[in-house]
């Protein structure tokens, strides 16, 4: 079990309110991603759940029991840190064994779980090495192994992939996804990378300045962002946001603009074209609009900077936001 509920949880550092009172429910077995720009309070929120920070107000329930005043050791949660936070003076084996040693598990059971975790994470040949002798990806696996063997109620990940290079990051992303499929244990994952959020999550929680802007599945957030912040944050490249002349804003994603050489709604000139092979990203300057539009076109499209083009938005996929930044129906 791993059902986590936050009730009016608040965090203040002195006079500064980092997290205004918020409510959130994390279902058992779900994969929830907290995403937002740096400084939005996502890590603080995770640390509140972990017990590494004390909530200034409100209640944190784990499986229905009040855990607000429990220390991190007694909450039954495991955490994987951005810096891996392995014990440098212990071998990989002892690193993984440490939580079980603290829990007083019998030695035979410890060994059994270490072997199983090492097999699952490809660490069998490294058990007697020190963390300093491992690569970044292997260290991250050890950190995950140390979390798995406890059989926690939930896993907490604090930007676990941001110290890895791009190729390794994609690989580890898949591994963590598979781990969730296999264990079916609740996972809460913090990242500033919206691609990680979109690919891994069942549920995304978008945070901004300590507030929850929207909670939903990746596709819900993509299809109907509740406000301008979510609209601009989810999706890559970013949604084009155009003032509608009545104080509100119109949004259209780069992939929902049709490109034509002959005719269309907006005529303009190509500023920059980025060819990725699969796609081409164009920046088109439209004289009647205050800022250039980003367009996602076919990878084979033959346009160069300076070319005149026409763009037509897909009317079914236009987003409209009022003067208050909230989505209009």
């Amino acid at each position: 079990m791993g059902q986590i509920t936050l009730e009016r949880v608040e965090k203040r550092f002195g006079e500064v309110s980092v997290i205004p009172p918020l409510d959130l429910s994390v279902e058992d077995g779900s994969f929830v991603v907290f995403v937002g720009p740096s400084g939005c309070g996502k890590s603080t929120l995770l640390r509140l759940i972990a017990g590494l920070e004390d909530a200034s107000a409100g209640r944190i329930l784990i499986d229905g029991a009040d855990a607000t005043r429990l220390g991190p050791a007694s909450r039954g949660l495991a955490m994987v840190f951005q810096s891996y936070a392995l014990y440098p003076h212990m071998s990989v084996r002892n690193n993984i064994a440490f939580p079980m040693r603290m829990a007083g598990l019998p030695k035979a059971e410890q060994d059994r779980r270490i072997e199983a975790a090492a097999r699952a994470l490809n660490l069998t040949n490294y058990l007697d090495r020190r963390p300093g002798q491992l690569s970044g990806g292997q260290r991250q696996r050890v950190a995950i192994g140390r979390a798995i063997v406890r059989e926690p109620k939930a896993f907490l990940f604090d930007e676990p992939l941001s110290n890895l290079d791009a190729a390794l990051r994609v690989g580890m992303r898949l591994e963590i996804g598979e781990l969730h499929q296999r264990l079916k244990t609740t996972m809460i994952y913090v990242t500033h990378d919206q691609v990680e959020a979109m690919t891994m999550a069942d549920t995304i929680v978008v945070l901004n300045a300590g507030r929850i802007e929207q909670v939903g599945t990746p596709l819900e957030l993509y299809r109907s962002p509740r406000n301008l912040f979510v609209a601009g944050f989810i999706g890559s490249p970013r949604m084009n946001l155009i003032p509608d002349g009545r104080g509100g804003t119109m949004g259209i994603r780069p992939e929902h603009l049709a490109l034509s050489r002959a005719s269309g709604e907006w005529g303009g000139t190509v500023g920059v074209s980025e060819h990725l092979g699969s796609d081409t990203f164009l920046r088109v300057h439209v004289p009647s609009l205050p800022q250039p539009l980003t367009v996602r076109a076919d990878g084979e499209v033959a346009v160069s900077p300076g070319d005149a083009v026409f763009l037509t938005p897909d009317p079914a996929r236009l987003h409209r936001f009022g003067a208050d930044g909230l989505r209009l129906p």
């Binding site: 972990a50 017990g51 590494l52 220390g71 991190p72 050791a73 949660l77 495991a78 955490m79 840190f81 951005q82 810096s83 936070a85 392995l86 014990y87 440098p88 003076h89 440490f98 939580p99 603290m102 829990a103 140390r146 406890r150």
Partner: protein, 276 residues
């Protein structure tokens, strides 16, 4: 050409370094040499460098007058005892200052250090009276406590500096892994800080061994360490430089040997965090 210049330069630097080292070590070298001279040649003017009649008589005389090992063991007990007691207090103190600092932690550290600027003699009378009233005068335990208190600010500061270098996330990981506060300090913090703790221990032993104000003032015979052993040869029967030197050599020899074998650790410890 470049190579020739650099070799020349290297030779010059080496000579310079040896010069400075000899200058610093001169008093000790002179003391050791004097300890092997007959009393008459020890005060000769101009001084005799090496061409004197080498003798071990001073050592024999010194040992006949006072039992060296009585003092030696007192020094060992005071140095090790004050260091152990100091660590016991300083590790938790430095832990809390490094990892759960309050608003006044910085001031507290500064204040602790500032007590080192106070001349010891200023509190001589109160401490002496306290020692009389509590019956601690001329006891090893009393000395251990006083020397520990004198060096405590330095121990706390050094440990604090080392602990600050340890990423807090690792201790948080230990907490998430179910470690209690004592397990966290015992199994994670202390092993990681071993190099720092080792150099703190070494430095503190040296400081405690050499402390010669309180050890001389607060002891007579029972708890008298080697500093008292030296001072005992300095006046009563007039000045006997050679015997005094022999006593001094015997007093500093153990700590000199220890320092020699641990110099790498000491240098590493004292410059820890300075470069990086």
């Amino acid at each position: 050409m470049a190579r020739a210049v650099s070799t020349q330069r290297k030779a010059l630097n080496t000579a310079l370094a040896w010069g400075v080292a000899l200058l610093i070590a001169f008093p000790i070298i002179w003391t050791v040499l004097t300890s092997f001279k007959p009393e008459a040649q020890a005060v000769a003017r101009p001084p005799i460098w090496l061409g004197f009649d080498w003798t071990l008589r001073n050592y024999a005389d010194v040992e006949r007058q006072r039992d060296y090992f009585d003092y030696f063991w007192n020094s060992v007990i005071i140095a090790l005892g004050s260091t152990a007691l100091g660590l016991l207090i300083a590790i938790p103190a430095a832990w809390s200052m490094a990892f759960v600092p309050g608003r006044r932690t910085r001031d507290l550290l500064m204040w602790m250090l500032s007590t080192k600027m106070m001349p010891g003699v200023a509190v001589l009378v109160p401490i002496y009276l306290l020692f009389i009233w509590t019956g601690l005068l001329d006891t090893r335990f009393g000395l251990v406590v006083v020397i520990m208190l004198i060096n405590l600010p330095i121990i706390v500061w050094m440990l604090y500096t080392y602990f600050k270098e340890i990423p807090a996330e690792i201790l948080e990981a230990a907490r998430m892994d179910g470690a209690s506060l004592s397990s966290e300090i015992l199994y994670v913090l202390t092993p990681m800080a071993i190099p720092g703790i080792a150099s703190t221990v070494l430095l503190n032993i040296i400081l405690a061994w050499n402390e010669s104000f309180w050890t001389i003032v607060l002891t007579t015979t029972d708890a008298a360490p080697l500093t008292k052993f030296i001072s005992g040869f300095s006046s009563p029967q007039g000045l006997f430089y050679a015997k005094l030197s022999a006593a001094s050599t015997m007093a500093i020899a153990p700590i000199l040997v220890m320092g020699w074998f641990s110099q790498r650790q000491l240098v590493r410890g004292l410059t820890f965090g300075a470069v990086k």
